[in-house]
């Protein structure tokens, strides 16, 4: 019976989490594919949470690799230390401001999820944001 309660709690929590992760996955996927025209986008992450988000990606273009050198992008969870010299997507604004390899950030600002790309850093990695996400490219940072 204890298992039943735990399952019920896990189910409710999972449902809540699943809903969050579903949208996080879709938005992240849009960010990654808007910066790459390759048929396969390889990402590197050590964070279990990021791996979970990536597992939910619908588009099979995006794959996870354990080899940083092969990766096109790195995903850095909140306050995770930099381990890979690749263009990064980060998930808090403070990290984005201080990390020169962070080309994009997906974070909450004034109660709203927000996306931002750095024009200068994109250019440094010879990247460009295409399509509807190009409106989030900023020349400041």
């Amino acid at each position: 019976m204890k298992t039943v309660i735990l399952l019920l709690i896990m189910f409710l929590f999972n449902n809540l989490l699943a809903s969050d992760i579903k949208w996080e996955s879709l938005i992240l996927e849009k960010m990654l594919t808007s910066m790459s025209s390759k048929n396969k986008v390889l990402i590197y992450t050590k964070s279990p949470k990021m791996k979970k988000i990536v597992e939910r990606l619908i588009n099979t273009k995006v794959r996870v690799t354990n080899n940083c050198k092969r990766a096109d992008f790195a995903l850095l969870a909140e306050d995770e230390k930099k381990t890979c010299d690749k263009p990064e997507i980060v998930f808090n604004y403070r990290g984005y401001m201080h990390d020169e390899d962070a080309v994009g950030v997906f974070f909450w600002q004034k109660g709203r999820p927000t996306i931002r790309f750095s024009l200068k850093r994109l250019a440094h990695f010879n990247l460009q944001v295409r399509g509807e996400l190009s409106k989030f490219v900023s020349s400041n940072k």
Binding site: M1, K2, L16, D79, Y93, W108, G111, E132
Partner: protein, 629 residues
């Protein structure tokens, strides 16, 4: 199997069909913080999410309290929020408890903080939960039939600054500013506002009746690892509306209070299952009532001889509270065990009656020690029986009465959920002691324990994009012998309430919410039964960069003049991601149901009772803007 893959493709296509702005909005909706704080087992719940508050352009809490089954926003004879207002009782909402971030706002004298927080500005609020009917004994320190929980904005989601300003009818205006920052272990949110709320004025025999108020409000939350700290300051100055004038002739009065609050919550153990909450509230209150004639009295000689036309009082109202709670799971049971201590103290009271200092000033020194236990027992995968019990030991001492006694609260509930439906039923029995403010109007110096029985059930079924729901509630209350000055009154009175709701989501950005209700309740002052019928319909729509809000609330009390509807409408234009313009009308046709305020006129030497009918909702048009930086 083919169908399975087809469904995946269809689902994927649907998800991909949204543009990035819509996806961000949908993510915001689905991860609303209310999903993490609301608790369906606490009672019959209405949630106003952040999205609702913004699209409705809700400026004050009172605007959210007009579309509920068991009560509406109302004000007492001093113009203070009093949602269970019963004319001519000065305050009737002591069983309505109000919380900010799970800390109760309350006072030593009134037993509820609704008169302070019942119409608070909402600039700092993320979402609001309203539980109608009895709630778990673990939530409220003392029995409640309505519990309102406000949650401030989460600094982790608010990075940066925000400015909001609006102004409108009669020159009313409000401005607020906030700033938030967050790192992994440390985050904070700062908020400050200033309101100059000018209300509709009324006159009675050339006496101006005003409930204008000015308020300054500051709030701070600070989270460090497992510690959450909150601090708040409210400086409120108001005109006294009808004052305590028996003839509805107030003269040159004013009221003010300064509230200071500090609170903290600490969680311990790896699973945060042990929590300690501490809180301190101090309220310095100043009341200055002057009137032509006398203040409310039951002595006919006082009416004729005009014995008191001035009451000036200053007081300090302190509430200390501490609560320790442990959650533990054993087999099919989730236990919640807790203890709380509350000390309520009204002191340093200086009262001048007709300019003469009261030599025996009012004081209150109440301590409550509470022990409670709750068990949520899972009888199946989607069914829970919840049972809770609480014992409060009171050590009560005041200038009117001294008594040590204890009270019990018990509650039993059953909740069954499935993907298509939800069923909830609760039965509670509670004992409520006479609040200190009520003792001032009592026949004897005696604290009375009154029993309250609440039985309720709710069923909701989801049919595609629609939700159809029904709710029934039976409330039995015991009549007070010391407050009701009529003989041979029945010992118990019965109140009934029923509602039907219908919600429809046209798509994630366009929705309808509606409800019809019927209540038959006992009025303890007039010793009669009154029947209330009403309902509401609310449309929230989005078209391109415009959010459009329409709402109609209807209310009729049978056998009375109280009958009317409120029509509100608003539009928000999201010019950029950081700049929003808004326009809103409240009670646009000035047709809201009124409230009754009784008063006396003299016909020679014979007093006659008359009534003023004044709406708690003014017709107000406002324009506003918000800027994020």
């Amino acid at each position: 199997m083919r169908l399975f893959f087809l469904l995946i493709i269809v689902f994927s296509t649907l998800l991909q069909a949204y543009d990035i702005d819509q996806m961000l909005d949908l993510y915001r909706k689905d991860s609303d913080l209310s999903q993490k704080t609301k608790n369906e087992s606490l009672g019959h719940l209405t949630v106003y999410t952040r999205d609702d508050l913004e699209r409705m352009q809700a400026h004050n809490l009172g605007e959210l309290l007009n579309s509920l089954r068991s009560f509406r926003y109302d004000e007492n004879m001093l113009g203070m929020p009093d949602v269970l207002h019963t004319d001519p009782s000065p305050y009737s909402s002591d069983t309505v408890k109000i919380f900010i971030n799970n800390h109760e706002i309350t006072s030593a004298y009134a037993g509820s903080g609704l008169f302070i927080y019942g119409n608070i500005d909402l600039g700092f609020v993320d979402h609001v939960e309203i539980y109608e009917g009895s709630t778990s004994t673990a939530v409220n320190s003392e029995p409640a039939i309505v519990t309102i929980k406000l949650y401030s904005k989460d600094p982790a989601r608010e990075a940066g600054g925000h400015l909001q300003a609006y102004g409108g009818s009669r020159g009313m205006n409000h401005e607020n500013v906030s700033y938030a920052a967050a790192s992994k272990d440390f985050k904070y949110y700062l908020y400050a506002s200033r309101s100059d709320i000018r209300r509709t004025h009324y006159t009675n025999e050339n006496y101006d009746i005003s409930r204008d108020y000015k308020q300054k409000h500051a709030l701070m939350t600070l989270d460090y690892k497992n510690i959450k700290v909150g601090a708040e300051y409210i400086d409120h100055k108001a005109d006294p509306f009808l004052s305590l004038s028996m003839f509805a002739k107030p003269k040159d009065g004013d009221m003010s209070y300064k509230l200071k609050r500090v609170s903290s919550t600490m969680s311990f153990l790896d699973d945060d299952s042990l929590k300690l909450s501490l809180s301190f509230i101090r309220m310095n209150e100043h009341l200055n009532f002057n009137m032509d004639g006398t203040l409310w009295t039951t002595n006919p000689l006082d009416v004729i001889l005009v014995t008191q036309d001035s009451l000036v009082t200053d007081s300090v109202d302190d509430v200390y509270s501490a609560k320790l709670e442990k959650k533990t799971v054993y087999k099919s049971n989730t236990f919640l065990l807790g203890a709380n201590y509350i000390k309520k103290s009204l002191h340093d009271v200086n009262t001048y009656n007709n300019g003469v200092l009261d030599t025996e000033p009012t004081f209150v020194d109440n301590s409550i020690v509470g022990l409670y236990m709750q068990d949520d027992f899972a009888i199946a995968e989607n069914q829970i029986i919840t049972a809770s019990l609480k014992r409060n030991q009171y050590y009560s001492k005041s200038n009117r009465a001294e008594r040590n006694f204890h009270t019990f609260q018990t509650r039993l509930g059953y909740i069954a959920t499935s993907k298509k439906s939800t069923f909830k039923a609760f039965a509670s029995s509670m004992e409520i002691p006479t609040e200190q403010y009520a003792l001032a109007f009592a026949k004897t110096n005696e604290i009375e324990l009154l029993r309250l029985v609440d039985v309720s059930a709710e069923y909701a079924r989801h049919i595609n994009a629609a939700t159809l729901g029904f709710c029934l509630e039976y409330l039995q209350n015991q009549n007070s012998k010391i407050l009701i000055k009529k003989e041979n009154i029945p010992r118990y009175y019965d109140n009934y309430s029923a509602s039907v709701k219908y919600d429809y989501d046209f798509d994630p950005f366009n929705s309808l919410k509606s409800m019809l209700f019927y209540n038959r309740y006992h009025n303890p002052v007039s010793i009669t039964h009154e029947s209330v019928m009403g309902g509401f319909a609310r449309l929230l729509n989005t078209y391109k960069k415009f959010d459009i809000y329409n709402e109609i609330d209807y209310r009729k009390i049978y056998s009375s003049e109280i009958n009317g509807y409120v029509y509100n409408a608003g539009v928000r234009y999201r010019a950029t991601q950081s700049l929003i313009f808004s326009l809103k009308g409240v009670n646009i046709f000035n047709s809201a149901a009124t409230s009754r305020y009784s008063y006396i006129t003299m016909n020679g030497l014979s007093p006659e009772q008359k009534s003023l009918y004044i709406s708690p909702i003014d017709r107000t048009l406002s324009v506003g803007m918000e800027y994020s930086f």
